[in-house]
């Protein structure tokens, strides 16, 4: 029997942290009370993407998109919508509300321009139920590969698709598979990099949480293609939901005979294990990741030899990122031509981005390569909140750079981003508005990399530290004009001489802000001011005498008693005592306090 309704509740990390599990339990309970539990299907899914509106509940077949649901709302949804067919309008995502009913989700600005390939099943199926994955053509690509294709044909198909590594480097996936296939070795490994460490990035987490089987199936296909019978997924321990769902998926696949020896009688064997990372950013670098899987301290080693020749335990190893794998099954099922038809000339397919920062629709989006930054920010992202002006977008996390407002019409693909000094990166996209200080942003990312440097090579360990000290000096008002060329020289030195990707890319945020926002650096150094009003050491608060009415509010709220003045007389701030917390400015009813 078909269910009359499907209630999909987001079980991604974002919605889980705002009690989606309680909402699930409330639905379970409520449906039982109304004896509808046999007629209505409850599904805890992966991420729907619109995390800003979480927790999200979608009811099909109507496709009603309920946002910011609380467990207390559940009773109303059941008694009104499920029992009587009356959609609870007050909870609907406002963009889906139309005068004559509701508009399909796919018609909303957030979803309209998206194209879901890697996220096809995310938010549609129950990730802990292998049957639902199978119903969405799951494990069909594997069947096609082992029954009708030779390993070389598989590699050729991936090559022809033009798929490039989604972890950030953008290397041709097909070539990587070819190198590993051609390498000589009695044992080979297939690894998955799920050590997503960029601040603000959560694409890989969402794929593992919402559709773990698609990664497993792709790794099985990779195993068949390169001649490996053992795989490892290296995933951060900070992703407990992803780890748990992946483990459930592996167990279910094993139970069905899809993992193990002689899979479904085909003669092909492949098994998979999870290895947990302990939070070191450098372990997302491929050689450090493999060193960590081997049980050693996660430090990179020089390349060549590349992992395809000498990788895990000294054996030929294929290492791809989660999102790269998430594309594989569909390339096999729909053909390389279908995939290559999407995107731009040299960047095929789609890319998932984690939208964050100063943007209305925080969340997960998947767009065809070649979509402009403007479309992502203004249409899909819903623009900058509070009427502020867009200043720049940061891509590629601590290894990437920023795209300034004047380049908002750039078509997003690997090569365009590199040409403007940024990079695709794994897919974090942090939006900044006029209140963000670019020097401070560069400092933020550099602080992160200095913290995460493993310390093995000197350029990265000491060079980045010195670079950070220069930034510190500038933001605290002690910068000198000679600091800028000094920084530029140091950046180049670090890039040229560091051992691994972490160090080689660490100066990028500094270089790209210097390239597009040099005037802000100069303002910090020469005028000793922070144009965005962020760097505390450069700020001064003062009372405008003509506006002050002497209400004493500022004086009473100042935490350090830096303000003096009598009732109905003009107040003054003592800069020596002021800690620049900004409380006085917030409290002043006449906007008499200015920050310069």
């Amino acid at each position: 029997m078909l269910f009359r309704s499907h209630i999909l509740i987001c079980g991604g990390t974002g919605c889980s942290s705002s009690r989606s599990k309680d909402i699930f339990a409330a639905f379970e309970d409520g449906l039982k009370t109304q004896s509808l539990d046999k007629e209505v299907k409850l599904v805890l899914t992966g991420c729907f993407g619109l995390c800003a509106l979480g927790p999200v509940v979608i009811v099909y077949p109507e496709g009603s998109f309920y946002s910011k649901v609380t467990p207390d709302d559940v009773r109303e949804i059941i008694s009104e919508h499920i029992v009587k067919g009356r959609i609870v309008k007050r909870l609907l995502y406002e963009e889906t509300v139309k005068q004559d009913g509701i508009q399909s989700l796919n018609e909303t600005n957030f979803y309209k321009k998206q194209l879901r390939v890697a996220l096809k099943n995310c938010g549609v199926i129950n990730p802990e139920n292998i049957d639902e994955y199978i119903a969405r053509d799951g494990y069909k690509a594997y069947e096609k590969v082992v029954t009708a294709m030779t390993p070389q044909q598989v590699v050729d198909e991936i090559k022809a698709s033009g798929l490039r590594g989604r972890g950030g480097g953008g290397f041709s996936t097909g070539l990587k598979w070819q190198f590993t296939k051609d390498a000589q070795g009695d044992k080979k490994f297939v690894c998955c990099n799920a050590d997503e460490g960029d601040p603000g990035a959560f694409m890989d987490r969402s794929v593992l949480e919402g559709d773990p089987h698609c990664v497993i199936e792709a790794m099985m296909i990779a195993g068949y293609a390169v001649g490996s019978d053992q795989g490892y997924v290296y995933v951060r321990a900070e992703y407990p939901i992803a780890v748990q769902r992946l483990q459930v998926a592996i167990d279910q696949a094993r139970e069905y005979g899809l993992l193990g020896k002689n899979i479904l009688g085909t003669g092909h064997s492949f098994d998979l294990e999870i290895r947990l990372g302990s939070g070191a950013f450098v372990c997302g670098e491929e050689t450090a990741l493999m060193t960590s899987i081997e049980g050693h301290r996660g430090e990179p080693r020089p390349r060549p030899p590349f992992p395809a020749i000498k990788g895990l335990f000294g054996k030929p190893t294929l290492l791809n990122n989660v999102e790269t794998y998430a594309n594989i099954t569909q390339i096999i099922l729909n053909g390389s031509k279908w995939f290559a038809a999407m995107g731009t000339e040299k960047s095929k397919g789609t890319k998932v981005f984690a939208l964050g920062g100063k943007i209305a629709n925080t969340g997960l989006v998947e767009i065809p390569m070649g979509t402009t930054l403007r479309e992502i920010i203004e249409d899909i992202g819903g623009g900058i909140p509070n009427g502020k002006k867009f200043k720049a977008a940061q891509t590629g996390g601590p290894s990437g750079g920023c795209i300034p407002a004047e380049l908002i019409d750039i078509k997003i693909d690997y090569d365009n981003l590199i040409s403007i000094g940024s990079m695709m990166g794994s897919g974090g996209l942090i939006v900044m508005d006029e209140d963000n200080c670019m020097v401070d942003i560069a400092k933020f990312f550099l602080e992160f990399t200095v913290d995460e440097s493993c310390g093995k090579c000197t350029p990265c360990r000491i060079g980045n530290k010195r670079l950070l000290e220069l930034l510190d000096k500038i933001t605290s008002g002690k910068g000198e004009p000679s600091d800028i060329p000094k920084m530029e020289e140091l950046c180049q030195y670090i890039k040229d001489n560091s051992l691994c990707g972490l160090g080689q890319t660490a100066p990028n945020p500094v270089l790209s802000t210097l390239r597009y926002f040099k005037d802000e650096y100069i303002a910090h150094i020469e005028k000793k001011t922070c144009p965005a009003g962020v760097c505390k050491a450069l700020l001064n608060y003062s009372v405008q005498a003509d506006k002050c009415i002497g209400c004493t509010l500022c004086k009473r709220n100042c935490p350090v008693a830096a303000i003096s003045g009598e009732v109905k007389a003009v107040h003054t701030i003592d800069p020596a005592k002021c800690i620049k917390c900004g409380v006085c400015m917030e409290k002043c009813p006449k906007k008499a306090i200015v920050r310069r």
Binding site: M1, L2, P61, V83, G85, V124, E132, I134, A135, D137
Partner: protein, 122 residues
């Protein structure tokens, strides 16, 4: 251990169910009035009967949707069949027995069941 044939069986069995979670452009929508009046007149078994027929016949492009009261409570259970071209046909006083014929004649073969339609002057 399963076989590829068994995986295909799982696929066929569940495909229709999982596809309910996406709205297709080419869907035929069956809208069942499920307000208090509809439920009292027996709309729930009608809805169940539609779902049963869709399932048995593996009609992947047909969706059942509930709606509230449209004001003609004496004619409930009321069912609208909306085809992709936007045409709406309204059946009244529907029963699970009538459902079988509506699905077989209208949904599958495209022939409206005239005798179940709303009377012209009501």
């Amino acid at each position: 251990m399963k076989s590829f044939a068994e995986l295909q069986q799982i696929r066929e069995r569940l495909k229709n169910e999982v596809n309910q979670r996406e709205n297709g452009e080419a869907d035929i929508r069956i809208v069942v009035g499920m307000a208090t009046c509809g439920i009292a007149a027996g709309a729930r078994p009608v809805l169940t009967a539609f779902n049963h027929e869709i399932d048995v016949r593996k009609l992947s492009n047909v969706k059942t949707v509930q709606t509230g009261c449209i004001g003609m409570c004496r004619l409930e259970p009321i069912v609208d069949v909306i085809t992709p071209d936007g045409k709406k046909v309204t059946y009244v006083k529907v029963t699970p027995e009538k459902v079988v014929r509506i699905v077989a004649e209208h949904i599958v073969n495209g022939k409206i069941v005239d005798e179940f339609l709303m009377p012209a002057n009501s």
